[in-house]
C-alpha cells in the first residue's frame, strides 16, 4: 500500500515539468469544465453591480446545483424588491423556469432568455456557466502559455462552433496551471471576433472541500464601462440535494 502511495507521489512531482506540456486545448478545457461542474453544490453569493453613474445595486442569492451542473436552482434573498424570485434551470440550462412570488406565476423561458442580463448586471444567464457550455459551444485551441495575474497559465482560445447560438464569437482564457481555475476570461463580440466586449477576473482562490474555488469574480464590461462583482459568502460541495428541489414545486417553495 505504502509503495503505491510513494510511487504516486513521485509521479505527481514529475507531472508539472513534463506531462503538463502535453495537454491539448481539449484536455485543458475539459479540466476547467470538470472543475466548474462539481457533482452537487450550494452557494450563497453577493452580487454588486457598479453602474456607469457610479451607483451600486446589491443582490444576495442562494444557489443549488446537482448532477454536475445539469440541474440548477437560484433563489434571491435580497433586496426586498426581488426576494423570493427564483430560477430553475434543467438540462444544462436548456430548460428554464422563473418564479415570481408577487404574482405566484411560473414562466417557462426559451433558451434565448439566457442572453438577458441577470438582474441588470454584467453577467448574462449564459455567463453564469451552464453545464458543458465551454465544451459544447466552442472549439478550443491552445495558445502560448503566459503569466497572468501572477499565475503561470495556459492560454486558450475558444472559437464558437458554427452550430452554436452562443452570444460570443470567441473567448480567450488564461487557466492557472496549478489548479485549472480560469483566472481571466475575455469575451469577444458576437459578430466581430476582434472586438473585446467583457473581461472576467477571478481572485481569492481557496480550496474548499478539495476543490479550488474563486471566492471573488468580477466581470468588466468594456463597452458600457460598468462592472459586476460576485462574492461567494458561503460554499459547500457534494451536498445531498433531493431531486424534488429541482421541480416546479421546489421552485415555488
Amino acid at each position: 500500500m505504502n509503495k503505491i502511495i510513494i510511487s504516486g507521489f513521485i509521479v505527481l512531482l514529475l507531472v508539472p515539468a513534463s506531462f503538463a506540456q502535453e495537454f491539448t486545448g481539449e484536455d485543458i478545457i475539459q479540466k476547467v469544465n470538470d472543475l466548474f461542474n462539481v457533482e452537487s453544490g450550494y452557494a450563497k453569493a453577493k452580487m454588486t453591480i457598479m453602474t456607469t453613474s457610479g451607483q451600486k445595486r446589491t443582490f444576495i442569492y442562494e444557489s443549488w446545483s446537482k448532477n454536475k451542473g445539469e440541474k440548477n436552482l437560484v433563489r434571491y434573498l435580497e433586496p426586498r424588491r426581488v426576494k423570493g424570485q427564483a430560477t430553475l434551470m434543467l438540462n444544462n440550462a436548456d430548460d428554464i423556469w422563473m418564479f415570481f412570488p408577487r404574482t405566484q406565476r411560473v414562466r417557462k423561458l426559451a433558451s434565448h432568455a439566457k442572453k438577458q442580463k441577470m438582474q441588470g448586471s454584467d453577467f448574462s444567464y449564459e455567463d453564469m456557466g451552464s453545464g458543458d457550455a465551454f465544451i459544447n459551444d466552442f472549439s478550443p485551441k491552445r495558445l502560448k502559455d503566459e503569466k497572468m495575474e501572477g499565475y503561470d497559465c495556459y492560454q486558450l482560445e475558444l472559437t464558437r462552433k458554427p452550430e452554436s447560438d452562443v452570444s460570443y464569437s470567441r473567448l480567450v482564457m488564461w487557466v492557472i496551471k496549478e489548479n485549472f481555475v480560469p483566472v481571466v476570461i475575455d469575451y469577444y463580440d458576437e459578430d466581430d471576433p476582434t472586438l473585446h466586449e467583457k473581461r472576467l477576473l477571478e481572485s481569492d482562490i481557496r480550496v474548499i472541500d478539495d476543490i479550488p474555488t474563486a471566492m471573488k469574480v468580477v466581470m468588466y464590461n468594456k463597452n458600457d464601462n460598468t462592472q459586476t462583482e460576485l462574492e461567494l459568502l458561503e460554499v459547500k460541495y457534494n451536498v445531498t440535494l433531493a431531486d424534488s428541489m429541482f421541480t416546479e414545486r421546489g421552485l415555488k417553495k
Binding site: 453602474t51 453613474s53 424588491r81 405566484q104 426559451a110 434565448h112 447560438d165
Partner: protein, 404 residues
C-alpha cells in the same frame, strides 16, 4: 367590543413576539401612482397610494402561513362617468334615468387580499384560504384563467386573492395534478377546477377543466329591486389546454379554452352563448439585449365589425366582465435596456377586427435597490366607435414603488 379589542391586542402581541423571534417575516411595499387621461378637452387626474403589508411565517418545514393586507387611498378625479368615453350608438342604448349608475367611483379601501396556510406533505401540498390563482401561459390574455382578467397596459400587476382550497399532487418529477375548490353559497355555485401539468421534451403542457358561475350584467336593463343592472348568472364550463416551450430558437406558447354556458330559463333570452378563446405567442431576446414579444388573441364573444359593438359589449369590457370587445387582437412588445438601470419599451395592441390600435411607450427605472419607477403613456389611434378610438382619450401613468 371589549372582547374584540382584547383579541386584537392579543393578536398584535403574539405577532410582535413572533417577529422578535424571527418566526414571521414582515415585508411589503408602498406605491404612489398618478394616472392622467385627456378626454373632451380636459386632462383628468387620478392619484392613488397603496400600502401592502405582507406576513409570512414558516412555522415548520411543512407549514407556511402567508397573508397580506392592502390599504389604498384615491385622490383627484375619483368619479368617472363611463358615458364620457362611449360612442353615441352605445349611449343611445342607456335606459332612461339610469345615467348615474354609469359613474364609476374610486373610494378608499382596505382589505385582506391573501391569507392562507400551506401544508406541504411528502406527496402533496394543500393550500387553504385566500390565495392568488394564476392559470395559463399567455402574457396578456389567459383563456384558461376564469378567476382573473389582466390589465391590458399593465399585465404583470399582481392579481387579487381568491378564497379556495387547493391540492397539488406531484406525479413523479414531470407531472402535477391540481384540484381546486373555490366555495360560494352552494356546492353547485362553487368553482371547481382540475388540471394536469406535465413536460414532454422541451414543452410544458397542461390540460384543465373548470366549472364556475360567471356573472354578466345586462347594461340595457335595470333591476329596480336590486338597484343595479340586471344580473345574468350563468354556469361556465371550460375545457382548455396550454403549452409553453421553444421552437426554432423562439420562445412559443399557446392557450385555448372552449366554454359551455348554461343559464336558467329566466335569463336564457339575454344569455351569452358558448364561446372559445385562443392565445398564441412568441418571444425572442437578441444578443444586443433587445427583447421582443408578439401575442395573438381570439375571443369568439368579440365582434368582427365595430359597427356591431353595443352598450353591453363596451360595458362588459370596461368592467372586466369580458376580456375583449373585438374578436381578434395582437399585442406586440419590444424592450431594450437603455442604461444599466433603465429599460425602455413600446407595446402596441392592435384590434385586427376593427383596425384600431393603441401605442404604449413604457419605462422601467431602478431608482435604488428597493425603489422602482414604472411609467407608460398611451395613444389611441382609431376612429370613433372602435376599441382604441381617439375619443377614448390619450394619457399615461407613473408609479413609484418602495419595497420594505
Amino acid at each position: 367590543m371589549k372582547k374584540w379589542l382584547s383579541l386584537l391586542v392579543f393578536f398584535l402581541l403574539s405577532l410582535s413576539s413572533l417577529i422578535a423571534q424571527d418566526k414571521v417575516e414582515l415585508f411589503g411595499y408602498f406605491e404612489s401612482q398618478a394616472m392622467g387621461t385627456g378626454v373632451k378637452n380636459e386632462f383628468l387626474l387620478l392619484y392613488s397610494n397603496k400600502l401592502r403589508v405582507d406576513l409570512k411565517s414558516s412555522l415548520s418545514e411543512k407549514v407556511t402561513f402567508a397573508a397580506n393586507f392592502d390599504y389604498i387611498t384615491f385622490h383627484g378625479k375619483t368619479e368617472w362617468n363611463i358615458l364620457d368615453f362611449l360612442p353615441p350608438d352605445a349611449i343611445a342604448e342607456v335606459p332612461a334615468g339610469t345615467e348615474p349608475f354609469y359613474v364609476f367611483s374610486y373610494s378608499d379601501r382596505h382589505f385582506l387580499d391573501n391569507a392562507y396556510i400551506k401544508l406541504s406533505f411528502k406527496h402533496f401540498d394543500l393550500t387553504v384560504g385566500k390565495q392568488q390563482i394564476s392559470l395559463g401561459t399567455g402574457y396578456v390574455w389567459n383563456p384558461t384563467d376564469v378567476f382573473n382578467i389582466k390589465e391590458l397596459f399593465d399585465p404583470t400587476y399582481e392579481q387579487p386573492g381568491h378564497n379556495a382550497l387547493r391540492l397539488d399532487i406531484p406525479l413523479g418529477s414531470m407531472y402535477t395534478l391540481t384540484t381546486l375548490f373555490s366555495p360560494e353559497d352552494t356546492w353547485k355555485d362553487s368553482a371547481k377546477l382540475i388540471q394536469i401539468k406535465g413536460r414532454i421534451s422541451r414543452f410544458d403542457y397542461s390540460l384543465i377543466g373548470i366549472e364556475k358561475v360567471w356573472l354578466f350584467h345586462d347594461y340595457t336593463r335595470f333591476d329596480d329591486e336590486n338597484m343595479n343592472f340586471l344580473e345574468l348568472p350563468g354556469k361556465r364550463q371550460l375545457l382548455g389546454a396550454s403549452t409553453a416551450g421553444e421552437l426554432l430558437g423562439l420562445g412559443v406558447w399557446a392557450e385555448y379554452a372552449y366554454n359551455w354556458m348554461e343559464y336558467s330559463e329566466d335569463f336564457r333570452e339575454y344569455a351569452v352563448g358558448d364561446f372559445s378563446e385562443l392565445v398564441v405567442g412568441t418571444d425572442y431576446t437578441f444578443n444586443f439585449q433587445t427583447y421582443m414579444m408578439i401575442e395573438y388573441y381570439r375571443n369568439t364573444l368579440g365582434k368582427t365589425d365595430y359597427e356591431q359593438y353595443n352598450l353591453n359589449d363596451w360595458m362588459r369590457m370596461i368592467t372586466l366582465e369580458q376580456k375583449a370587445l373585438s374578436r381578434d387582437q395582437v399585442y406586440a412588445f419590444i424592450q431594450h435596456p437603455a442604461t444599466d438601470l433603465m429599460s425602455v419599451g413600446i407595446s402596441t395592441i392592435y384590434s385586427v377586427s376593427d383596425k384600431s390600435l393603441t401605442l404604449v411607450p413604457t419605462l422601467n427605472y431602478s431608482f435604488s435597490d428597493n425603489v422602482e419607477i414604472f411609467a407608460y403613456l398611451y395613444f389611441n389611434i382609431g376612429k370613433e366607435g372602435k376599441v382604441f378610438a381617439k375619443t377614448m382619450g390619450n394619457g399615461g401613468m407613473i408609479r413609484a414603488r418602495v419595497y420594505f
